[in-house]
């Protein structure tokens, strides 16, 4: 069977197993408290029903009114600021759903808007990410030179470490800010930032949904929009660094023949020939999956980059050293992202308090 097919099948199998594992854990963690919550709510509801003696139909009306009124709690969602906020959640695919179009024209335009906006946004964040990584690499090289390091080359390990620290700082800054502005616990604010910047966007916590913030607190509105867009850029830079290569593995496989690859690089150093062979072996090897799956125990290894292009007259673009043709073994570092990202969650877990809250934190 073709290596690409083996890799794809292994990936599908991994995802199915991962979903089964996730389902089992979420069931174990949430199922019990769900039953407890449901009972408590039913009890509270029966008290209220008996106190006011609602007819079934009236209670249905109350439900409908309360649920439909919820978006209005934050003031007008569809004036310019609110619509801008909504537009951000569409093209970034965050999709909180705190406000969703209610007219057919709005829904149709939303679909049309997303069809063009999502690819454009994807490309923009990846392009920004690549520029940022190139700049960070330049700064690190300068810093190493300034500090008189003998080895001034910037390794993938250095870049991943900087990326990790940036992602964690972005989340922590956001958590601090939103816990202040929204009166959420730090843990809940961290969870909000994480769910937002991964574009999951449950909508259980949504910023700018209290005290008519969208119309009455322009500086906070501006901060929130900028935070989301800058935060997504930081995450995008990290994905560009460590995940994009996996997406382009197949593209990379056009170079599969080692001998032809070597023939293609008459000027390359031995180091670069190793690259092409590594590629041949690794890109088509399902064991690359283990790199992605073994994130928890992954340790950054800090091998220096190949000689600087200027020194060997090789590739002239530093981005090459982040590219899919660059030692693919290093792609395993991508998994470090996942492990190290988790740690702040667990720290935050200790800080967090488990207050029951409504679907929207505006309540």
């Amino acid at each position: 069977m073709k290596p690409q097919n083996i890799r794809t099948l292994s990936l599908i199998l991994s995802i199915v197993l991962y979903l089964l594992l996730g389902a089992a854990v979420f069931d174990a963690l949430e199922s019990e408290s769900e039953v407890f919550r449901k009972k408590a709510l039913e009890q509270k509801l029966n008290d209220l029903k008996s106190k006011y003696g609602f007819t079934a139909e009236d209670y249905r009306d109350i439900e409908r009114v309360v649920l439909q009124s919820e978006p209005h709690r934050a003031g007008r969602q569809w004036k310019f600021a609110g619509s801008f906020y909504f537009a951000i959640t569409v093209i970034t695919t965050i999709g909180y759903g705190h406000a969703a179009p209610r007219t057919d024209a709005g829904k149709a335009f939303c679909m049309f808007y997303a069809v063009l906006g999502i690819p454009l946004t994807l490309v923009m964040f990846q392009s920004q990410g690549e520029r940022i990584n190139t700049f960070v690499r330049f700064l690190l090289r300068r810093a190493k030179q300034g500090l008189g390091f003998q080895q001034t080359e910037v390794s993938m390990g250095n870049m991943v470490l900087v990326g990790l620290l940036s992602c964690m700082s972005t989340l922590c800054v956001g958590a601090a800010a939103f816990s202040h502005f929204e009166d959420w616990t730090f843990f809940n604010a961290y969870y909000y930032c994480f769910i937002t910047l991964t574009t999951i966007g449950f909508g259980d916590f949504v910023a700018l949904q209290k005290t008519d913030a969208l119309s009455k607190r322009p500086p906070y509105v501006a901060f929130s929009f900028v935070y989301i867009l800058v935060g997504l850029t930081v995450i995008g830079a990290f994905l560009n660094l460590v995940v994009l290569r996996f997406l382009t593995v197949s593209t990379g496989e056009r170079d599969v023949k080692p001998e032809s690859r070597v023939a293609e690089q008459p000027q390359d150093t031995q180091g670069d020939r190793e690259v092409s062979e590594a590629e041949t072996a690794d890109l088509s090897d399902p064991s690359r999956l283990r790199a992605l799956l073994s994130c928890i125990c992954c340790a950054l290894y800090d091998r220096p980059s190949p000689p600087h292009p200027d020194e060997v007259g090789g590739h002239s673009n530093p981005v090459f050293y982040n590219s899919i043709s660059y030692r693919v073994e290093r792609a395993s570092c991508s998994s470090c992202f996942t492990s190290s990202q988790a740690s702040p969650c667990s720290q935050a877990l200790c800080a967090g308090k488990n207050y029951p809250h409504s679907r929207r934190k505006s309540l």
Copy 2:
């Protein structure tokens, strides 16, 4: 200024303008009906308040109970099937928010789960997408041979057309199925499928949230899970075909020097040398953005692929012809996706009816 910087700045500017445009249109489309809806709800609420004479605090309790009870309407969200559904919405970043973890342990695990699951899912869908595109290309070539076409090469235009039809069919099949199972209008069901498969996932329409479907309708549950995963694969295949190259532009720029690129391909045909030159010119040219932006008036052009690799002893992997090194001019076809995707929306718009509905269609 470096071409990559010009491209990135142009992209940022485009996104800002696109957001401003979107905000203006959403404001125009939704703002008025929002005011109207709000007034109607306030009227209804006042009637109910005067009928039952709630105290402010009791009404607050009723609100809280109704909002917190909403997820329970669909039966237990966190038993295995529900947790599996939730896990899908996390790693695909759909994030409806129909159910969201309420315990701190659940939130912490959710973050950890997403950090590993999202990159893995991204890679899986792109890998599947690339395999599907390779298979479709093979089938099309065989079909052309079978039908006795003189030119049996499969062009980018052919692939984009097939991709478009697949995406539109997937959406229409889903719309038909969910409008049947959930009693939604075809337009609303189409909108639900679109918002789900783009991973926006507002959560205003969520499947499996009525009549305790998660526990009582296993075949429908299975269908919904399979539909979401298969649908995302089809969209992933299309993105792999037409958008991935834009994400990898920077990676492609390692090949910037035409002469060195030509030197790298001693066996290549003139056609392929044009490719490298096209790349040099186009990848670094902000005019590529216009390809992405000009989707509405974009027409598929159907230039045949370069000679089959076997004929010229060139690249052995058909995927090469989808790769970023393949005539980048053709990338402009990516924008066709966006235009043609819109048409079914507008068709569906005619079919759709504008019933006011609660945030969750389960009401």
